[in-house]
Symmetry: C3
Subunit: 337 residues, 3 copies
Amino acid sequence: MVDSTFYEVRENVTLADVAKVTSATLTDENKKYEKIAHIATMASATQEDICFFYDRKKKENAAKIKAKACVTTEELKQFVPQNVIVLVSENPKVAFIKLNEYMYAQKKPSIGIDTTAKIAANAKIGQNCHIGANVVIEDNVEIGDNCIIEPNAVICHDCKIGQNCRIGSNTSIAYSIIGDNCYIYTGARIGFDGFGFQLMNYQHHRIPQLGRVIIGNDVEIGANACIDRGALDDTIIGDGCRIDNLVQIAHNDKLGRGCVVVAQVGIAGSCTLGDFVVLGGQVGLADHLNIGSGAQIAAQSGAMRDVEAGAVVMGSPCVPFKDFMRQVSFLQRNSKK
Amino acid sequence: MVDSTFYEVRENVTLADVAKVTSATLTDENKKYEKIAHIATMASATQEDICFFYDRKKKENAAKIKAKACVTTEELKQFVPQNVIVLVSENPKVAFIKLNEYMYAQKKPSIGIDTTAKIAANAKIGQNCHIGANVVIEDNVEIGDNCIIEPNAVICHDCKIGQNCRIGSNTSIAYSIIGDNCYIYTGARIGFDGFGFQLMNYQHHRIPQLGRVIIGNDVEIGANACIDRGALDDTIIGDGCRIDNLVQIAHNDKLGRGCVVVAQVGIAGSCTLGDFVVLGGQVGLADHLNIGSGAQIAAQSGAMRDVEAGAVVMGSPCVPFKDFMRQVSFLQRNSKK
Amino acid sequence: MVDSTFYEVRENVTLADVAKVTSATLTDENKKYEKIAHIATMASATQEDICFFYDRKKKENAAKIKAKACVTTEELKQFVPQNVIVLVSENPKVAFIKLNEYMYAQKKPSIGIDTTAKIAANAKIGQNCHIGANVVIEDNVEIGDNCIIEPNAVICHDCKIGQNCRIGSNTSIAYSIIGDNCYIYTGARIGFDGFGFQLMNYQHHRIPQLGRVIIGNDVEIGANACIDRGALDDTIIGDGCRIDNLVQIAHNDKLGRGCVVVAQVGIAGSCTLGDFVVLGGQVGLADHLNIGSGAQIAAQSGAMRDVEAGAVVMGSPCVPFKDFMRQVSFLQRNSKK
C-alpha cells in the first residue's frame, strides 16, 4: 500500500474513474460509484484496494484475490473470484501504469532557487526550475525550463541541460550536453576523464581526454553510475536509453536509441551499441566492440567480440544462449562421472 | 601501529587492564604492571606492543613474534617464544576486538547543528546529534537521538532515522525508514527509483516507483552502495545486515536478519533472502529468487534459480560447491588433451 | 573535433609547430607555415585537421584520410594518400599526446578559497590552491601547494594531501595520507571503514578499523571508487597507480608501483600486488592473495589463489591464458555433440 506520508494520494477514486483512466471496461456498471483507496499487489490487496492480474502463471494466486476490484484481461477474468469486481483491459500492465500515474504522485520541490545555491553570473537558468540547497552551477551553464536540480549537485562549466530534466542530489556533471526529459540520478558522475594513458619511461602518462558526453532526450542514468567523456570523439547516449545504478560507460562509447543497461554493467572504451540493445546486470564488454541492434546479453556475461543484431548471448566469453545452456548441461553431466 | 594523529589512543594500559578487558588470564602475574603501547599484528608488533594469535595455520609465524605480550589460546601458547608474556583467552579474536575498543577510539564530531546545515522548520532532530556542514534535511524528516549526520548529506522529505545512527558525508536518502544503530556510509544512495519501465510504442515508459526502503536496527550499508525503493511494496533490509561498498539492491528485495552482502554484489528486483545469507563479492542474483536462510553463494557466482537454505553454491550459473569444484577439475583435466 | 566551448584551443598552430612539439619530421618543408585547426581521428579529420596513424591494422582506413596532415611512421607513411602532408615520427602515439597537450587545455578554476568553503581554523592550505564552494576541510588537515579541491568535497580530520593534487567534487576522504600529483575523481570514497566483523551471539559485531590509507605520488583514483582504510595496518596504493571508476579496494590491500586497476574490479582484504600488475575490468580477487609484479588478470576473471609475477591469467577461477582458451574451445567442441 502506497504510504501517504511520502506520496500524494488521490482520494475518492471510483471505478468509473479507473475505467476512464485505464481505458478498461467495467463489467458491472452498477459498481461504477464504488471507491478504491489504493492500488496493491494481488497478494496484499484488501477489500478497499484494486489490483492488476496479467500474468497467466499467477492464475492460482488470482483465486485468492481479496481486493474490491481487479483489472485483468477477457481471457484471465475467469480466474478471479466472483465477489471481486472485474474491469477488462486489453493491456492491464499499461492500465496499471496509467492508474498509478493518476492516483499517486511524488511531492515536487517548490519552484525557485535556494539562497545557498551558487550560480555563476553568466549561467542561464530556465523558467520554473527548482535549484536546491548548495547546488553549484559554474560558468556558462545553460539549464532549460522546468528542471529540478537537487541539493549539492555540481554542474561544471559550459554544460547544457535541456527542459524537464531532473538532476539528483550530490551528482557531478562536466563536459556534457544533455537533452530534454532526462533524469540523472543521485551520485551519478557524468563527463569526467576516461581511463587513458601511455606507458613512457615506466610511468603512466595521461592521454588528454578532450571530448564530451552527449545525452539524448528521455534518458535515465542510474545512481552512482559513471559515464566518462570521450578522448577526442564524444561519448554518446542515444534517446530513450535506460542506464541503471553503478554502471560504468567508458570514453567514446556510443549507445543507440532505447538501450537498456542493467546495474553494474561495465562497457570498455569505444564500443558501439545499436538501438534497443539489452545488457543484463554485471555484463562486461571489451573495448572497440560492435553490438548490433536488438542484441541481448545475459547477466554476468562477457563479450570479447562483436555481437550480431538480434543475437541472444550468454557466458564469459559469451556464446549464443542455446550453446551456453548446452555447455552448462554438458559440464554438469560429465563432471560427475 | 595505530596512528595517534587520527585516533584517540589510551595510554598506560597494563597487562592487568588487558586481562580484565579481554577476560584473558595473564600466565605470569608478576607482569601485571607491564605496559603496552599498541595492538599490532603478529608480524609488526614490537617490544612495546601486544599481538593476538588465534589462527593455527600461522604457528610458524608465532615463533617469530617480537611483541611484549601475546593473547592466544591454551592450545596455541606453546608456539609463542618464551620471552613473550602470554595471556590465555578462550576466544582471542573476541579479545582482540574488546581490547581494540578499549584502547582506541575515533574522534567524534561535536554535538550541535552546523550553521550551514539547511533543516526544514518542521523536521525533528533528536538530542545530542551532530549535523554537519551543508547537510540538507527536508520537510517532516525525523532523526532520533545521538545521530551523526556528516557533511553534505541529503535526507529527503518524510524520512525517519532512529537513534544512534551515522549517515556518511555526501550520502542521499529518500523514501526511507531507518532503525536504530545504523551506519549508512558515505555516498550511499538509499530509496531512489527502481529500474522499472514498460515498452510502449518503442519508448520505455517509466513504471511509477511508489514504495519505500525499510531498514531495521543495527544495519550497515557500505560506501556508494545503492538500495532502490520498492515499486508498490517496500524494499526491506532486516536487522543486523552488513552490506558492503558498491552493492546494488533493487526494488522490492527483502533481506532477512544478519545477511552479509560483500562488495559489488547485485541483487535484481523482488528477491527474498532468509536470515544470515552470505553473498560473496560480485555475486549476481536474477530477479524474483528465494535464497534460503544460511545459504552461502561464493564470490562472482550468479544465481538464476532459488537456492535452498544452508546450501553452499558457486559458479555462474551456480551449483553446489562440490559440483563446481568437480567441473573445474574436469575442465582442466580434459581440455589439455 | 575538440569543442572550444569546453576547452581552451590554441590557434594558428603551424606544421612547423607540430614538428617541433612532437619531434616529428615534416616531409615537405614547403608546408611548414600551413596551419591546422584541430587534432581529429583518422575517420573524422577534415581538410583543416591533423590526424595520427600508428596502428598497422588500420592501413585500409589510412587510404581514406581526408586530413590536411598526418603524423605517422616511416614505415606506415606509404599508406597515406598523396595529398595529405606527412610528418614522420618515431612514436606517433607519444606525438599525439604531446600535440594534445600543446593545443588543448582544460579551463582551470581560479585560485582562491570560496566563501562557502568551511575550513577548520587549524587546517593548513598551501599556496595557489583552489578550494571550491561548500568544500568541508576538518581539523588538522594539511593540503599542499597548487591543489584543486572541487565543490562539495569533504576532507576529514587529520588527512594530509600533497602538492598539485586534484580532489573531485562530492568526494569524501578520511584517515588518509596522499602524495603529490594525485587526482582523486568525483565521488571517490577514500579511507572509510573496512568490512570487518565477528559473529557473537548471532550478531555481527564490528571489528574496529584503525588503520589508514596511504597513497603515493602520481596516483589516480576513479570516480565513485572506494578504498577502505586498514584494520590495524594500512591500505597502501603505490606511486603511479591508475585505479578506474567504481573499483573496490578493501582493508589492508597493498598495491605496488604503477598498477592498473580497470573499472569495477573488487579486491578483497589483505591482498598484496607487486608492481605494474594489471587487473582487467570486473576482476575479483579473494582475500590474502599475492599477485606478483607484472601479472595480468583478464577482465571478469576471479583469482582464488596467488598469481605469479608475469603470469597472464583468465577465467573464474583463473588459469593461465592459454589454458583458459583451451577450456573454452574444448567446451564449445564437445557440448555440441
